[in-house]
Symmetry: C2
Subunit: 230 residues, 2 copies
DNA sequence: GCAAAAGTGTTTTCATTACACCCATGT
DNA sequence: ACATGGGTGTAATGAAAACACTTTTGC
């Protein structure tokens, strides 16, 4: 991350993008291992300076795309971190975003400023460069809230998924077990899923039905006063 | 607001503080009438540049205090607005905060850059300078959410208040009527209020009991797993 | 035929809603 | 005595929670 030639009279600003993925079991986040000082060798959140003619959202999308090759993902601004001393080489204010991506679609290319790029299990991360750990925790809290109130969990799954996969995703993010029957009853009764007449393959047990999220149906029921809540 | 001598290579950043107050009847917000260009003569949200050695929260508190003389108020960061063209005289990214103040304690002193400072009824505001209307709407939405999930309504009332006052406050913010008995039952059952053995005075009807919010009790019940929700 | 996950309804429990009359005070 | 808001309880409704067995497939 290029903050080398600092001008001590100037405030810089950046975006950091917390990219969440789900591997069917645990929630992961995409981290980069920094090649350069400060914090060389530390894991950090992907981010970059925002250029003067670039919108904030655009910068966050750019960071994501440069790192993963993925476009058109769910993205949300969370919080702006600007403590005077948060960056050792000058005043840097950073606007934190989170993204939700289908982990299978991501093709990781180590960025020039990174030694490595890796998916890390969220619950096992203990520290990060700068104040990135705090940023990650804030974004994770926000994700926990958002996922109960908006139909965004689907962004982390393949287009076709089983209800058990969806449930496991919710359990991983919310860190609590959910009742299978109640979960299914509720999500089905929302009328925002398509039942594909297609079954899971390659499993050594009864194959599950596949579903997909139907954004059009969701808009319809929303018109009629439906409020997503899980 | 001093953005006169702009350097087109530099990005500036500011905080804007949406200061909410309640007059017993409607929700209000403190606006300033701009003396200088751009948008001279327009109503705007109070805000200022953040200096290089100043934390964001500190800047928001400073803006509030310079304008109202009030300290120690509830303050929350909401969202950062940074569209490239949001400010006509350069790139200015602004971090929006909202504050809740007891309207009676505020002593308005017009700031140097303002022609006037006034409390305006939130629901009657139709436009503001820059993108301030959008900022205000975003903050208002956030306040609506927050007030249901955190015991912050009290910040807008005098220390001693009646339950009807509290209910009217909720009704004004949420824009919906609430049932008197249910509201009282719920708020009383939370055990976060002190019943003062004191009555309202100067009213030409049965005087109401006065209550105060008890932060210590709130922390206690929160320890025991209580979650504020209204 | 056994292991493994899919799929399916009913009852209980609890929180929310709806609702109307008497009370205390000032004028 | 009247106008004004203060103060109070119960029944009905609906949503959430708890709970266990049969089914389908691969090996």
């Amino acid at each position: 991350m290029p903050f080398q030639k600092e001008n001590t009279d100037t405030t810089f600003f950046s975006v950091d993008n917390i990219i969440f993925g789900f591997d069917g079991d645990v929630l992961k986040v995409l981290l980069i291992k920094r090649r350069e000082e400060p914090f060389a060798g530390y894991w950090a959140l992907p981010g970059d300076r925002v250029s003067i003619d670039e919108n904030l959202d655009t910068a966050a999308i750019r960071v994501l795309e440069e790192l993963t090759g993925v476009k058109d993902v769910y993205l949300d601004q969370v919080f702006t971190f600007g403590k005077v001393d948060r960056h050792p080489s000058g005043r840097v204010i950073t606007i934190a975003y989170y993204s939700l991506v289908n982990i299978e679609k991501v093709d990781i290319e180590a960025a020039s400023f990174a030694e490595k790029v890796e998916w890390k299990e969220v619950r096992e991360i203990e520290s990060l460069a700068f104040d990135h750990f705090e940023i990650m925790v804030t974004c994770l809290d926000r994700l926990k809230q958002d996922i109960k109130l908006r139909p965004i969990g689907f962004e982390l799954l393949p287009e076709k998924f089983t209800l058990t996969e969806l449930q496991k995703l919710y359990e991983a993010i919310l860190e609590q077990d959910l009742d299978k029957r109640n979960f299914r009853k509720k999500i089905i009764s929302m009328n925002i899923l398509n039942t594909l007449h297609e079954l899971q393959t390659g499993v050594s047990h009864r194959p599950a039905k596949l579903y997909s999220f139907d954004a059009v149906k969701y808009e319809e029921v929303k018109e009629n006063g439906f409020i997503f809540e899980l």
